[in-house]
Point group: C2
Chain length 327, copies 2
Amino acid sequence: MKKQIKQKIMSAVANDLEQIESHLNSNLDPYLELVQTIAGHILFSGGKRLRPLLMILCARMCGYDREDIFHFSTMFEYLHVATLLHDDVIDAAEMRRGKKAAHLVFGAAETVLTGDYLLAKSLSIAGETGKMEIIQLAARITSEMAQGELLQMKNQRNPHLTQGDYFKIVNSKTAVLIQAACESGAILAGASQDIIGSVSNYGKNMGIAFQIADDILDYTAQTHILGKNAGADLREGKLTLPVIYTLQKASEQECAFIKELIQDVHFSHSAFEKLIDIMEKVGSISFCLEKAKSYSEKARESLMHIPEASEHSVLFDIADFVVARDS
Amino acid sequence: MKKQIKQKIMSAVANDLEQIESHLNSNLDPYLELVQTIAGHILFSGGKRLRPLLMILCARMCGYDREDIFHFSTMFEYLHVATLLHDDVIDAAEMRRGKKAAHLVFGAAETVLTGDYLLAKSLSIAGETGKMEIIQLAARITSEMAQGELLQMKNQRNPHLTQGDYFKIVNSKTAVLIQAACESGAILAGASQDIIGSVSNYGKNMGIAFQIADDILDYTAQTHILGKNAGADLREGKLTLPVIYTLQKASEQECAFIKELIQDVHFSHSAFEKLIDIMEKVGSISFCLEKAKSYSEKARESLMHIPEASEHSVLFDIADFVVARDS
């Protein structure tokens, strides 16, 4: 199922993805080779380019037909990678996109500074659009993402984290960037406030669906598919929806076990398996999937408010893809 | 001498400084209290506000008379503090502005993210000016400062660092920001390209003079004046002009001693004193002071190309102040 949707999307956007790759590469012009190396380490290790792609599709859907969209769209991948670099240092993550995390290869300081470079690059490209709303949007989400990450850190290994807290973190950490990529496309195209609002809603709901699906994967996928270790979130003390829901539904004894696990940096594989069993018993993964699907559905609905264009179909498919299960 | 110039400057800009303080405080509106606390830790611990002050003075010198200049000027203090926060993490510094460095109080991750928040804040205010040149300038120097810091890191404990390398680092790390503060003031005022160029030159040369003077202080001042430990640069492996010049002029035996010192993270107080003796013998401090003065002089000369205004006098004084010796 997931594979088929992917193939359909890929054939629709193959040319766009090629253009994005080429612009990501040529836009990078640091005077230090080291920056190029560190940025390239993560930038060119198989990212999905979801954010630039969404900007391009949304711009085109709203009538924008200039080629400079490919250049502008890179700002959202640079910004995304900048936050990944900083997050890796912060989480002391070991792997990212299937590679050893940058800070372990190049050093934490070098990684922080390359993140700063990419952040600046992203805001510089925002400036090139000449649209003040896009510049302000880029600055605002950069600030919001930093605060979202801090909020998550503050709640590290906090077993009392609520679903409300979780959605607040997901919104700040992930959704605002995807939302901004979509919204910027519409702004660039000079769309009406109504249309911009609908495009923005599509992005926001897609972003939330995307993050929930990603958080589910951390409990269901194998390391080689994930590109990082399964259970990595929990090991880092990040409580996501699958665990939060399980804590709400599990027995007292099970909760005690999970709370212990949360505090244990080096939990065993068998302890992790036991957690998965409890999750299945309380139906946590199905619950989370349903949640993700409901956000994906909201994203689809938002598109209904936008005049029909050929991009609708692939944007629908992307919303489906995000929550489709491997099969 | 230095004290008198300071008093003269302070009485000329007392009102401006008050306005800067008030805007620095009220512009800060994170949704997380933690960000306010971490940012405030360094933001309100006695910085000189040199960068916002220069933007205000340069704008006014070029005919800008709107009150929003105080708001806009904060972008350069936020950007400065953002880089200080990241630098502290990177250098693993112990003290800053007379306080324990933020990462030791709040944690490295929290400090990096608060730096990101301030960086975004700064670029957001740049956007509010509505001047695309200022936005691009802010983005460009952010990228350049990150690369300057990386260049310095790459050359940590490198005894072969040349004066050329040093000036390249000083330019990227320090001068571009002071230059941009001055230049932005002129741009905001709608000055001609010629005038903007002269204001920019003033800032650049002032910035270099300022950094050389700061690097000298690390070898001449007492800890309580410096707000950080004397000899801290060398301990962190940062080779600055006083050491680079000394290595060029000292005897073979002395150079061998200095090179050993450079590699020694925990050198003794008496070893540091011996280095100071060699510096005095080869006249390194006088050489550096002369260098700083020559840049300060270039800054003064740049002002000559700008139509006479009441701000000239205090801008001259600031150029003098930067290189004046305590006495």
